[in-house]
């Protein structure tokens, strides 16, 4: 006969070191075990979708930086793609290649952050996160070199990219891609793949079944960890991804451990893509001439990219005016978060934290 206890409600967040922002998880706890979880979002809501309706299409690009501020390039790219689709704008080759390079660099940076934060959530005392930050900083240095900003890059433009790459960019990129990052990834493998404690903490924790993953319309590493090979870059190629050769890493068990190993492999694949893109990088203009206050014809467009978090979709409706009539974002963080309850109930608090870390949410994107 088990002891009868009143489940205790514990607020994990919004002020908590491990909620990756101001996300609130109200956990009902029996001892250490979670009985029920209630998710509360909205603490960071800035009403971006509404604000965007008052601004021109070009002015809306910075908003996409500030949604997933860890993957600003992907947000820029997704939005620009949708407007270009709406306005039927042809993008130059070079710009497409640059978009791929920066998108993949952004993926590396974001996954570095995710890995470090995940290990931190597992309880390591800041060291792995510092290492991951070190490598992320290297990527961000390249961003800074190109567009002057590190996080909120605001680099993509409708019809191309804002600036062409500087001369010192390519050597630095090649050094990074061929030398520094591969070494760093070996270290991550040591940290995650080879660490018994991480295995104990992450194996069988936060399991997502394939059925659940599809029913909840998960995407990104969450989906792939459940054993489903799905990637927008392959399924619905944009830019020049159809010219690139890369593999999609797919997990077996759908647990936190799978998600982290998938992220590491994805980073390696990103390097592979970058190498190909740098090799094929054509000359020419980096941007077509598009009026600043572009007025796309009335209509609607939806385009999606594979952001580090998953499928990032932008749905833009134009009434022919300078501002979008409706602007909607399919934010992967929010949708991936929706299965948190299924993943954590029955596990301990510590497992819940690990699970949350492995989902890799960004509250800026969740709340928008």
């Amino acid at each position: 006969m088990p002891i009868k206890v009143e489940p205790v409600e514990v607020n994990i967040g919004p002020q908590h070191p491990s909620t990756h922002g101001v996300f609130r998880m109200v956990a009902k706890i029996d001892g250490e075990r979670i009985v029920d979880v209630k998710m509360v979002v909205g603490y960071l809501h800035r009403s971006m979708e509404k604000l965007a309706e008052e601004r021109t299409f070009t002015q809306n690009i910075p908003f996409t930086d500030r949604m997933d501020y860890l993957a600003a390039m992907s947000g820029n790219l997704g939005y620009c793609l949708s407007v270009e689709k709406l306005a039927n704008i042809e993008v130059p080759e070079r710009a497409q290649y640059l978009r791929v390079i920066f998108g993949e660099l952004q993926r590396v940076a974001s996954h570095c952050m995710a890995t470090g934060a995940f290990i931190n959530d597992c309880g390591a005392w800041q060291t792995p996160v510092m290492w991951c930050f070190r490598d992320r900083e290297r990527v961000l240095d390249l961003f800074e070199m190109t567009c002057g900003a590190r996080l909120t890059t605001n680099y993509m433009r409708i019809g191309g990219v804002a600036f062409d790459i500087p001369d010192e960019f390519l050597p630095a990129l090649e050094k990074l891609v061929n030398d520094e990052l591969p070494k760093a990834f070996e270290e991550y493998e040591e940290l995650i793949v080879g660490n018994e404690i991480i295995m104990m903490r992450a194996r069988d924790v936060g399991v997502v079944t394939p059925e659940l993953a599809i029913n909840a319309s998960l995407s990104g590493p969450m989906l792939r960890s459940a054993g489903i090979a799905w990637d927008i870059r392959k399924a619905d190629p944009y830019c020049v991804y159809d010219r690139m050769k890369f593999d999609i890493p797919v997990g077996y068990n759908g647990d936190a451990y799978d998600r982290m190993t998938i992220r590491i492999e994805e980073m390696k694949q990103s390097l592979r893509i970058i190498r190909q893109a740098v090799g094929d990088l054509p000359g020419g203009a980096h941007k077509t001439d598009v009026p600043l206050a572009i007025r796309p014809p009335a209509g609607e467009a939806y385009s999606r990219v594979e952001s580090p978090k998953g499928e990032l979709g932008f749905y833009v409706v134009s009434d022919g005016g300078p501002a979008p009539y409706r602007w909607h974002v399919r934010a992967p963080s929010l949708i991936n978060l929706s299965v948190l309850r299924e993943m954590t109930v029955g596990q301990t608090i510590a497992d819940a934290i690990v699970t949350l870390g492995s989902i890799d949410i960004n509250v800026g994107e969740v709340d928008r």
């Binding site: 205790v8 390591a124 005392w125 489903i228 301990t348």
Partner: protein
């Protein structure tokens, strides 16, 4: 060349010159003896001499510990900083040495908050009670051949008692904070204490069996007599004690009581100002006192193969303490945290059986030693070899046969170079494994 030149310096006679005087740094007992003599001359009664000398020793220890607490903040931050590929504090004073002072001043200035519903007495007592045992441990730790404050017959038991007291104060803090996170931390500590007391005691039994005494000075002398550090004779006990005590110290990978990423700060979530500062200091103090215990029990304390004739014993001792402390900082800087059930399982399923095996083996060895009548010169290398091999074999065997099966699924993902867009879902992991693991 240089060495020969050095030989010209009359080291021995220089040492002789200062030997026996109270300023001889190598041994504090001269100082104590002088104080004794003067007090007696002044006609103090015996008991007051006893009290005064005890107080002086205590003051010395507290001064050392205060210094250590301050310095260790810097040490920890610098060392961990290096590990994290950053610099650590480097602005205040040379190498940032004054950073802890600044920290302390900041902490003292802060307002001391107290939850309205907290029982004030316990809330206030907890950080103090947490600090005291760590300091009290030093009473029985020998600093040199003659420098030990209290040569307690049951020194080791005393240490164990003190270390178990510290955890109770953690509970006091956690309970009185009236905060769910704090209560979680407190309960985790209690659960952990119940589990980890056993491997600690059982692990140290091996040491006591070898040394034949629980007096720490006696254990050091045993190591000196047999010309071997206890860690060589008892590698298994060392490992067991090291892991178990790092759990009791609440340091990573076993810092589940504070577990910042899970329960925010655990038992000290609600503390602020100097009360929190005391917790912070006490954690360092406890780490140092445990390092001192390990240095004494396993690494020879103030003795180090004739080196103690040249260098003052307390210096050697402090060096060893910091060596062990570095180990603690190292593990803290690198390892993630266990979950609590894993931690308890580790205690019950790994440490306790290994400790018991160790005790049995040591008992047999000591019996063989005593009964055979052969000299230590024969037995000590044999024991070193046997115990080393045993430790290796046990660890290997436990890992091989009792480790959880993490490898049920491959550690690396599989790769799909291409995907069939319409076919959803794709192959699940189970189907994939059933097909033989090929993409």
């Amino acid at each position: 060349m240089t060495l020969n030149a050095l030989r010209l310096i009359p080291m021995r006679s220089l040492l002789d010159l200062i030997t026996g005087y109270w300023w001889d740094l190598r041994d504090f007992s001269n100082l104590t003896r002088m104080i004794y003599k003067h007090l007696e001359d002044w006609g103090f009664p015996d008991w007051s001499i006893y009290v005064i000398s005890g107080l002086i020793g205590t003051l010395g220890i507290i001064a050392f510990i205060g210094g250590v607490a301050v310095i260790n903040i810097w040490v920890e931050r610098r060392v961990v900083g290096r590990m994290q590929s950053r610099l650590g504090p480097n602005r205040l004073g040379p190498f940032g040495l004054l950073q802890p002072v600044a920290d302390a001043i900041k902490l003292m200035q802060k307002e001391v908050l107290q939850p309205a519903s907290a029982p004030g007495l316990i809330y206030t007592l907890a950080p103090i009670a947490f600090t005291v045992p760590g300091i009290a441990v030093f009473a029985v730790v020998p600093w040199g051949r003659h420098a030990v404050l209290a040569s307690l017959d049951v020194g080791l038991l005393y240490i164990l008692g003190m270390s178990s007291l510290a955890v109770l104060s953690v509970f006091m803090a956690g309970y009185s904070s009236n905060n769910k996170y704090s209560l979680f931390g407190a309960m985790r500590v209690i659960a952990m204490l119940v589990s980890y007391e056993i491997p600690i005691v059982a692990g140290l039994l091996g040491v006591v069996l070898f040394a034949g005494t629980m007096d720490l000075q006696g254990i050091v002398l045993f190591q000196e007599e047999n010309w071997a550090f206890m860690v060589m004779l008892q590698p298994l006990a060392f490992l067991i004690y090291f892991f178990a005590i790092s759990a009791e110290l609440n340091r990573t990978p076993a810092d589940i009581a504070e577990a910042e990423s899970e329960i925010v700060g655990g038992y000290h979530t609600e503390y602020s100002g100097m009360k929190f500062g005391l917790f912070y200091a006490a954690e360092l103090i406890n780490a140092v006192s445990v390092s001192a215990i390990i240095a004494t029990l396993f690494l020879g304390g103030w003795w180090a193969y004739k080196l103690d004739e040249l260098v003052p014993g307390w210096m050697i001792f402090i060096g060893k303490v910091y060596g062990v402390y570095f180990l603690f900082v190292w593990t803290r800087g690198t390892l993630p945290r266990f979950r609590i059930d894993q931690l308890l399982a580790f205690a019950w399923k790994w440490l306790t059986p290994m400790a018991i095996i160790n005790v049995v083996v040591v008992a047999a060895e000591v019996l063989a030693w005593e009964e055979s009548g052969w000299s230590a010169g024969f037995w000590i290398p044999v024991f070193i070899a046997v115990n080393g091999a045993l430790t290796g074999a046990l660890i290997f065997g436990f890992v091989k046969f009792f480790a959880p099966k993490f490898q049920r699924f491959p550690t690396r993902p599989r790769f799909y170079p291409d995907i069939d867009v319409p076919s959803l879902p794709a192959v699940t992991g189970a189907e994939f494994m059933a097909k033989g693991g090929q993409a």
